[in-house]
């Protein structure tokens, strides 16, 4: 059976509706059983009357009463089924609602470091479609599990009071369905897995090929790729055909069990009747009741897909809920009084990503004075983004400490820390709404003048001119109406409006062209600059040349740090970076 503990935890909240769903399912089954009794009675009366050779009128009259009962019970069953559906869906909606709310809260608790690591598609799949799969699982599959346990057992019991041999035959049929399925799974377990894995990887390959279609077009390789996909499909089909045949062999057992169970029981009952050991009305009861024993199982079978998807969705949900936050607030964390702007310090910090062989940062120490602008430079993979994440406490160091105004970040409440810092990253996400809304949300109390000042500093005014409705233009889903550079500018304005004492720019101007980048850099050094401590990560030397302090990282270590002019004189790493740039310009004669 496909049952998941995490889901059961949420299910308890909807137990009232679920219990009612089960009861209504049982009542619907009872109505069907009652109908079977009534129909057996109809046939028994007609047959006994015809055997007695009485006249037609009385025969029909005798059979009319049970026939009416059968009809009434059938209609009642229809009503009960309708009602059960309503309860089932209400129960499921209740559970889904709780699961979603819990997941969203957990998602926020997991924080930015988690979001950075996972693909948003995965979380969306869990939270939207995954939770949606719970509907049929919770509302229909789970109650049906109970019904399919209770009803066949009861009916076999009833049959046993009439004819033990028949009851045993039916019981064997009923039991062999789940047993066969389990046994088959065990016997074929690995083989079936191989089949589905091969299938999945083929599907993934198709998705990958389709996603890269523009690359294939550019390389003139579409026809080759298309042909290869077709060949792989054919290979996969050939390779898994025998396997499939075997894994579907379970159908043989279940189909035999069901038809042999019902028809076999009927024939056996007939034999017993012919031998005189079973009364006519009881034989007929077997005829009409045997099939009812299998109905709940059949219904469960039709919900199998729902159960399967529900279970795998439940696993995804459990996995997300069981993911611990990367950083957690200490129970004794208390707000500290921080200066504006604050100083930051990194002391002997080492950090290794889970699963990585090498630390991303080793024994890094660094002082960021209050109100200064510090640039972090270095080749790709030097650890720049890791350092930023540690400074924002998206990550906690493995050893060493990161401190703000002398307070270890881990001693502060996360809320205070997050209000103190603002990040503008390379990939900016805007929220649905207008450009103005997106800037305003950072500081609901700011007045229009303050917002406009930020708008101008981040060069959003110029971009708004090119938009149909200026600042009131909707940014579209995830800011899709704007280009990368435009989104970066909006995010920058948002961060400026927030007036966070610590501003971190992680490749925040990478998508801006040189002119806008220079203007934005200008604005960052302009009025208000000393009210915040600024940390800039950038590739372009022009972005960082005006910083108070430059920190050069390489392979997770600080290779040098100091004011740019001083570093240039020292002839170290920074000087080499400048020299390379200068040399490449000199070859072209730009700087004479």
């Amino acid at each position: 059976m496909l049952i998941n503990r995490t889901v059961l935890r949420f299910v308890t909240s909807a137990r009232g509706h679920l219990a009612l769903t089960v009861l209504l399912g049982l009542a619907a089954s009872a109505a069907a059983v009652g109908t079977a009794f009534a129909l057996a009675e109809v046939v028994a009366r007609v047959l006994s009357a015809s055997a007695a050779g009485s006249d037609a009128g009385r025969e029909l009259g005798d059979a009319l009463a049970p026939l009416a009962v059968a009809a009434a019970l059938t209609l009642t069953r229809a009503g009960l089924l309708w009602w059960r559906d309503q309860c089932a869906v209400r129960a499921a909606i209740d559970v889904k609602h709780r699961v979603r709310a819990r997941l969203v809260r957990h998602l926020f608790a997991l924080g930015p470091a988690h979001a950075r690591r996972t693909r948003s598609g995965g979380v969306q799949a869990t939270l939207v479609d995954g939770v949606e799969h719970l509907q049929a699982y919770v509302g229909f599959y789970l109650p049906q599990v109970v019904v399919s346990l209770v009803v066949p057992a009861t009916l076999v019991g009833i049959l046993a009071t009439r004819d033990v041999a028949v009851a045993v035959l039916v019981a064997v049929g009923v039991l062999s369905v789940p047993i066969a399925q389990r046994l088959w799974k065990r016997l074929l377990g690995e083989r079936a897995d191989v089949h589905w894995k091969a299938f999945e990887s083929y599907a993934a390959r198709i998705a990958d090929t389709l996603a890269g279609i523009v690359t294939l077009i550019s390389l003139g390789a579409t026809r080759r790729a298309g042909q290869r996909l077709a060949e792989q499909a054919e290979q996969l089909r050939a390779a898994t055909s025998a396997n499939l045949r075997a894994s579907l062999g379970v159908y043989i057992v279940t189909a035999t069990a069901m038809s042999a169970g019902t028809a076999g029981a009927t024939v056996l009952a007939a034999v017993h009747a012919a031998q005189g050991s079973l009364r006519p009305s009881d034989v007929l009861l077997v005829l009409f009741l045997a099939a009812e024993c299998f109905r709940p199982l059949q219904d469960l079978q039709t919900y199998w897909h729902e159960g399967f998807y529900g279970l795998s969705a439940a696993r995804g949900i459990a996995q997300l809920l069981d993911t611990p936050p990367v950083v957690a607030e200490r129970p004794d964390a208390a707000p500290a009084s921080l200066r504006t702007p604050p100083a930051l310090s990194v002391d002997d910090v080492t950090y290794r990503y889970p699963g990585a062989t090498q630390p991303a940062l080793r024994e890094v120490s660094l002082q960021i004075p209050a109100g200064s602008t510090v640039a972090v430079v270095g080749p790709s993979g030097a650890g720049k983004s890791t350092l930023v994440q540690l400074l924002l406490r998206d990550l906690d160091p493995d050893s060493g400490t990161v401190a703000i105004d002398g307070h270890d970040l881990r001693d502060l409440p996360l809320n205070q820390l997050r209000r103190t810092t603002a990040l503008v990253a390379q990939d900016v996400v805007l929220l649905d709404g207008s450009v103005w809304d997106n800037i305003r949300l950072a500081a609901p109390d700011a007045d229009d003048a303050q917002i406009m000042a930020a708008v101008r500093a981040a060069r959003v005014d110029e971009l708004a001119d090119s938009l149909p409705n200026g600042l009131d233009t909707p940014v579209g889903e995830r800011g899709g109406t704007l280009s990368g550079g435009q989104r970066q500018r909006v995010a920058l304005a948002r961060a400026l409006v927030a007036r966070a004492p610590v501003l971190v720019l992680d490749e925040a101007t990478s998508a801006l062209d040189a002119e806008n980048e220079a203007l934005v850099t200008e604005a960052l050094h302009g009025p208000g600059a000393d009210a915040r401590t600024t940390i800039v990560v950038a590739h372009r030397l022009s972005t960082v040349a005006r910083s108070d302090l430059i920190v050069v990282l390489d392979a997770g270590r600080v290779v040098e740090a100091g004011p740019p002019a001083e570093l240039a004189r020292m002839g170290g790493a920074w000087a080499r970076m400048l020299q390379i740039q200068r040399a490449s310009l000199q070859t072209a004669g730009a700087v004479r």
């Binding site: 979001a115 089909r237 996400v429 704007l482 022009s542 310009l585």
Partner: protein
């Protein structure tokens, strides 16, 4: 080497495979054919038609055998009650056993064969999607990223495959099986059959009557789910902002609100769906009751043998079984219909770039490129693809239509063979669009783009790829080994020596990284190249382009993610590479611009400057504005 036409219905692909396998590529249905129709099914089935027919037949056999076993059992019971001795029951017993065996085999065979049909369908429908995307991407995707479209369409294709391989078998079998069972009932007693027929009609009609409401409900639910999806994606992407700016309560409330709306819609939907469940749950019993009433009356009347009453009732209970099977799967019909509409929008989209030309570029070392009075605007919503919140991170955007895709106006430009030209301009000036036209990801609205004086539109797809290679801004690597990713660029059947690969990697300055990887060339790059950094991906794509031996190379911001030292290395290596080629490089960075022999400046889709750095500093205001800040930054830093 001559190239056959790449597309076109009348030209079968000239491949080495003479016998297109059952799962092989096939042409999509003729434009406009509804996918969820008999014609659509016929085309989709293609060579699987016989297998499909066998499945329908097996479905019939299993239904009939099941009904027969039950009816024979009922007959045995009736005879026993009416006084037949036990010895007379061996005939029905043997017949029942036979029916059970037949049914079992039919059920198993059908399960197996319908999976086989399903698999063939999957390959075929995906083949259509692949062919369509190859035909229309990226210009025909309006503002959608190819990656998004791929994800959406693959999900949709599953719904379509289920329809073709399962639902349509049930539909066909309902049409065939139900009359057969009814005919069997008529053999026992025509009056009973006539009386039971309206019950079957009820089973068919009830879902049809409610269909309109079902579609409406389904649509509203899906729209709300899409809203919810967009909301969640936004939350995931903006966790920092939401947490940092204290918006969690507000965002949770928004989700709760959408979730409640969804719940209300689903409750409304269930009021209708419950009716279907109710009807489906009692139709069989209703048939039995009706058969009991009419049959009982006929027995009394003497026109029906008493021992046939119970068999008639049993058979009446089995008559709607195929219809019930169909009702069971029709729950998903709304989803299927929408999926089919989206796939049809893709399959039947007009061809923006017709690659069926057969022209070739004259043999020679390198080709010059030219634009003659080229005007171009990216098409807007060219097809009605759903714009939902699929994972944007997986996109293969390239120079495709971006959100602020600019317009080119009357561009006239000649780039001589072997020349090294940089294209400069502010964002939105049309640089990437121009690169896309040079690589023929789109065709100009007016004017022409030429390679070696041949209009690109006349070239075959292969000649085009051999003439001009594009390394885009946003590189796409396939989830495969580095070797496979490199070899994609080559048409030859026999892969080249490793040494050739290494040379290309060296030119792109990525050889040392590849050497440091555990499996070297055979290292698998993660999903969409995710295990590599942006700069590393760019260099691998560059190596791929170099390996292809393309005679003109268009680099769209290809070095933007490299640090200065790496950038210079790539540039020097490209220059030192002996095979002469034309290079067009699009750049923001001063050092990249300065590496070019000639710089073309674009502004708002027009050429506003063309010359060397010094010339442009003197003559072109746009260029001065563009590079002055970078020059200033350099001047201000102390000399060495």
């Amino acid at each position: 080497m001559s190239h056959p036409p790449a597309t076109g219905v009348s030209h079968p692909p000239a491949t080495g495979v003479s016998n297109p396998s059952a799962t092989g590529a096939s042409n999509p249905p003729a434009t406009g054919t509804p996918l969820l129709s008999f014609d659509g099914l016929r085309v989709a089935l293609g060579p699987s038609q016989p297998l499909f027919a066998v499945c329908v037949l097996l479905n019939l056999v299993s239904a009939v055998a099941g009904a027969a076993a039950a009816a024979l059992g009922a007959w045995a019971v009736s005879r026993a009650i009416l006084g037949a001795p036990a010895d007379d029951l061996w005939l029905p017993a043997v017949l029942v056993a036979g029916c059970v065996v037949v049914r079992t085999i039919a059920v198993w065979l059908e399960a197996w064969l319908s999976h086989a049909v399903s698999f063939q369908m999957m390959a075929r429908v995906r083949g259509w999607i692949f062919a369509s995307l190859a035909r229309i991407a990226p210009a025909g995707l309006a503002r959608r990223r190819a990656g998004d479209v791929a994800t959406t369409t693959l999900t949709d294709s599953e719904a379509l495959e289920i329809f073709y391989a399962h639902t349509s078998i049930y539909i066909a079998s309902s049409v065939v099986t139900t009359p057969v069972l009814l005919a069997g009932l008529a053999v026992i007693d025509p009056a009973v059959a006539v009386a039971v027929a309206p019950v079957l009609v009820l089973a068919c009609v009830a879902p049809l009557l409610l269909r309109r409401a079902a579609i409406r409900h389904g649509q509203a639910i899906r729209e709300t789910l899409a809203e919810l999806g967009a909301e969640v994606t936004e939350n995931v992407g903006a966790v920092r902002e939401i947490v940092g700016y204290g918006l969690t309560a507000r965002r949770e409330e928004r989700i709760r609100h959408l979730d409640e709306k969804l719940g209300r819609l689903q409750v409304a939907n269930t009021r209708r769906a419950g009716l279907e469940t109710g009807v489906a749950g009692v139709v069989a019993t209703l048939g039995v009751v009706v058969a009991g009433a009419v049959g009982g009356w006929k027995v009394g009347d003497g026109s029906l043998a008493p021992e046939l009453l119970a068999p008639a009732m049993t058979l009446a209970g089995y008559a709607p079984s195929a219809l019930l099977q169909l009702i069971g799967v029709s729950r998903h019909s709304g989803t299927t219909r929408q999926a089919a509409e989206r796939i049809a929008a893709l399959l039947y989209a007009p061809t923006p770039v017709d690659r069926s030309g057969t022209g070739t570029v004259p043999d020679g070392d390198t080709v010059g490129l030219a634009a003659e009075r080229v005007s171009f605007t990216w098409p807007r919503a060219a097809n009605a693809m759903r714009d939902d919140a699929q994972d944007a991170a997986q996109a293969d955007t390239h120079a495709g239509p971006g959100p602020d895709a600019p317009t080119l106006q009357e561009i006239d430009l000649r780039i001589d063979a072997g020349e090294n030209v940089a294209i400069a301009g502010r964002s939105g000036a049309g640089k990437s669009t121009f690169a896309a036209l040079l690589a023929r990801l789109a065709d100009p609205d007016d004017g022409a783009v030429l390679a070696a004086d041949v209009d690109l539109r006349e070239l075959s797809a292969e000649s085009m790829a051999a003439a001009v290679g594009l390394v885009p801004q946003d590189v796409f690597l396939f989830h495969d080994t580095i070797r496979s990713n490199l070899l994609l660029a080559l048409t030859d059947e026999t892969p080249p020596e490793d040494e050739t690969l290494w040379r290309a990697l060296e030119t792109a300055q990525i050889d040392s990284l590849v050497r440091s990887l555990p499996a070297g060339l055979d290292t698998v790059v993660g999903e969409r190249g995710a295990t590599l950094s942006g700069g590393e991906r760019q260099r691998l794509a560059l190596a791929r382009a170099i390996l292809s031996g393309t005679r003109a190379l268009v680099l769209d911001e290809t070095v933007s993610q490299l640090d200065v030292a790496n950038e210079r290395g790539v540039r020097d290596a490209l220059a030192a590479d002996t095979s002469e080629r034309t290079t067009v490089v699009i750049a923001h960075r001063l050092s990249t611009l300065l590496g070019a022999e000639r710089i073309v400046v674009l502004d708002r889709g027009r050429v506003v400057g063309d010359g060397t750095h010094d010339q442009l500093l003197d003559s072109c205001a746009t260029y001065r504005d563009l590079v002055e800040p970078q020059l200033a930054a350099l001047r201000s830093s102390p000399r060495m």
